[in-house]
């Protein structure tokens, strides 16, 4: 054989085991987060959902297995919170939270290693922190009627900050992660999760925006402050392991 052949590895026990263990880790953090920072009157909702900091990076490292870990961890949280069979529906919020960045990275064919060749790290983190605060204000402005101008201002600031980030660190992966891995993931899961609670009837429809803001802000903080450093620090190393998933399942 003169040339090296590319060997495609299918689904192995490693993927099954890592999903199961990741579910365990995420479920523990989810239960801990709900006890430590609950958002009343939403059982199972946390203002600082630490589990998201694990399963969003995992979805980028392990593909659909990471998304499933997020889903199953939320099912367990739902069981513990007393949602019964409704957990299977409500937990789709966490599945989508992992799926949004995964879809973005796979469709755009971007490298998940957001930490590779990272330029001016400190400035990037400062802009990211400002962006998170700006987005929380934007979410509050969306919920309160009559604050459309504030919403527009925060939106313009967010766009400027994202452009600023790209100028400082011209990386497609970083940009995709900030837009879809932090903002996209948090907003999709918050809207679906709280809609689910309102649909089931646990939360009154009038409290929809309070729930969405609590969920969105909690996820935004966790994803930017914890998941981002995890992505930067570990992606390079995890890419070298046999568990890393390049496509969707293997």
């Amino acid at each position: 054989m003169s040339e090296m052949e590319e060997v495609k590895v299918g689904v192995t026990w490693r993927h099954i085991v890592v999903t199961a263990l990741a579910t365990g880790v995420a479920a523990i953090l989810a239960i801990y987060a709900v006890i430590a920072a609950p958002v009343a009157p939403f059982p199972g909702v946390s203002g600082l959902y630490l589990a998201a900091a694990i399963y969003v990076p995992l979805s980028l490292w392990l593909g659909m297995w990471g998304c499933l870990a997020g889903y199953f961890s939320c099912v367990i949280l739902g069981f513990v919170s007393g949602f019964g069979a409704w957990s299977f529906y409500w937990s789709l919020a966490d599945l989508f939270e992992g799926l949004v960045p995964l879809l973005a990275f796979r469709i755009m064919k971007a490298d998940v290693d957001i930490g590779a060749n990272l330029e001016r790290k400190n400035e990037l983190y400062i802009i990211l922190a400002i962006l998170v605060i700006d987005l929380i204000i934007a979410a509050i402005a969306t919920a309160i009627p009559g604050l459309e101008i504030l919403w527009l201002v925060t939106l313009i600031i967010a766009v400027i900050l994202i452009i600023g980030m790209y100028i400082i660190n011209p990386s497609k992966s970083w940009l995709l992660y900030v837009i879809f891995g932090i903002f996209g993931a948090a907003i999709v899961s918050a809207l679906f999760g709280i809609s689910g609670l309102v649909f089931i009837g646990i939360a009154p429809p009038e409290s929809f925006w309070i729930g969405v803001i609590g969920w969105f802000a909690g996820d935004l903080i966790v994803l930017s402050a914890i998941a981002t450093p995890l992505m930067v620090a570990l992606t390079g190393k995890i890419k070298q392991t046999s568990v890393f998933v390049e496509n969707w399942f293997s």
């Binding site: 026990w13 263990l21 365990g24 513990v80 007393g82 009154p204 429809p205 620090a233 392991t241």
Partner: protein, 288 residues
């Protein structure tokens, strides 16, 4: 040293009562049906019937509700339930004939006005949701106490759920207990090295959490390598359809009977929901 098999996320209490002898799938069906039905029913008296059924279930399972361990869980749950009730009263505006309380709080002038209106309809809605949440809580308590994770896996295997899926569920529950322990070990190890967790600023707290998470993720990948190597070295194929199991959990006559009753009750509840009638009104009309 505690055996890995005894480390479990479930609060299973071994028992010889009638509920313990049921097939795990029958217990799972009970959990599913009893947690869905209260949401199909709109009449509070119908929901009360389900509540009493769940109480009977709890009594039959002989759950030591007033033991020290469960007292804490129940108190925590009741405080959550009370908060749901209060927030429902404060946030939902439901018109009614009797007004108990009405007030307007101006948070931002002309923009954010919070109108509190507590009527008998508000109380009805709040009480109904509280009752539903109580039912779901007790049903889940029944689930975690009457089923061990091993029973669950054997039950799933008995209805031909693929071996890989069952093993995954089993590892998940083992992983839960394992990482609960690992989390404390990593945190304590950091504390013995002088890392402060309590009286520190939020950025430092986040930094410490990142350190714990990195340790947990590295541990998770290491354990994945070990476990998957162990499974592969035993020659267990990923897709094995004819795999046999040592324990057998036959579906007995009483399991068929209870499952049939449950499914019929579920179908009847859906029917009542579709014709917009309540269980109580149907009974009354039968006797009048």
């Amino acid at each position: 040293m505690i055996s890995t098999l005894s480390k479990t996320f479930f609060s299973y209490i071994p028992s010889t009562n009638i509920m313990a002898k049921l097939h795990p799938i029958t217990k799972i069906s009970l959990v599913f049906v009893l947690s869905i039905i209260p949401f199909i029913m709109n009449n509070i008296f119908d929901i009360l019937i389900i509540f009493f059924m769940v109480i009977i279930l709890i009594l039959l399972t002989k759950i030591p509700l007033f033991s020290k361990h469960f007292k804490k869980v129940i108190i925590a749950f009741l405080s959550v339930n009370v908060s749901i009730f209060i927030v429902w009263c404060l946030l939902s505006e439901r018109e009614g004939s009797v007004v108990f309380f009405e007030s307007t709080i101006v948070l931002i002038k002309d923009k954010w006005i919070w109108h509190i209106l507590i009527t008998e309809t508000t109380i009805f809605y709040a009480a109904r949701i509280s009752l539903r949440v109580i039912i779901m809580f007790f049903v889940m308590l029944f689930f975690f106490i009457s089923i061990s994770d091993r029973d669950l896996i054997h039950g799933l295997r008995s209805i031909k759920i693929p071996f890989a899926v069952c093993l995954m569920i089993s590892i998940t529950f083992r992983g839960l207990a394992m990482f609960q322990n690992e989390y404390s070990i990593v945190k304590e190890a950091m504390m013995t090295r002088g890392v402060e967790f309590q009286k520190i600023s939020i950025p430092k707290k986040i930094k410490n959490f990142i350190s714990i998470f990195i340790a947990l993720i590295v541990l998770m990948f290491k354990k994945t390598e070990d476990m998957s190597a162990s499974i592969e070295s035993r020659g267990i194929p990923l897709r094995s359809e004819k795999r046999t199991v040592y324990q057998s959990f036959p579906f007995k006559k009483k399991d068929y009977f209870i499952t049939f009753i449950l499914l019929s009750f579920f179908a009847f509840s859906v029917y009542l929901f579709l014709i917009k009638k309540s269980f109580i009104s149907l009974i009354i009309s039968l006797f009048m």
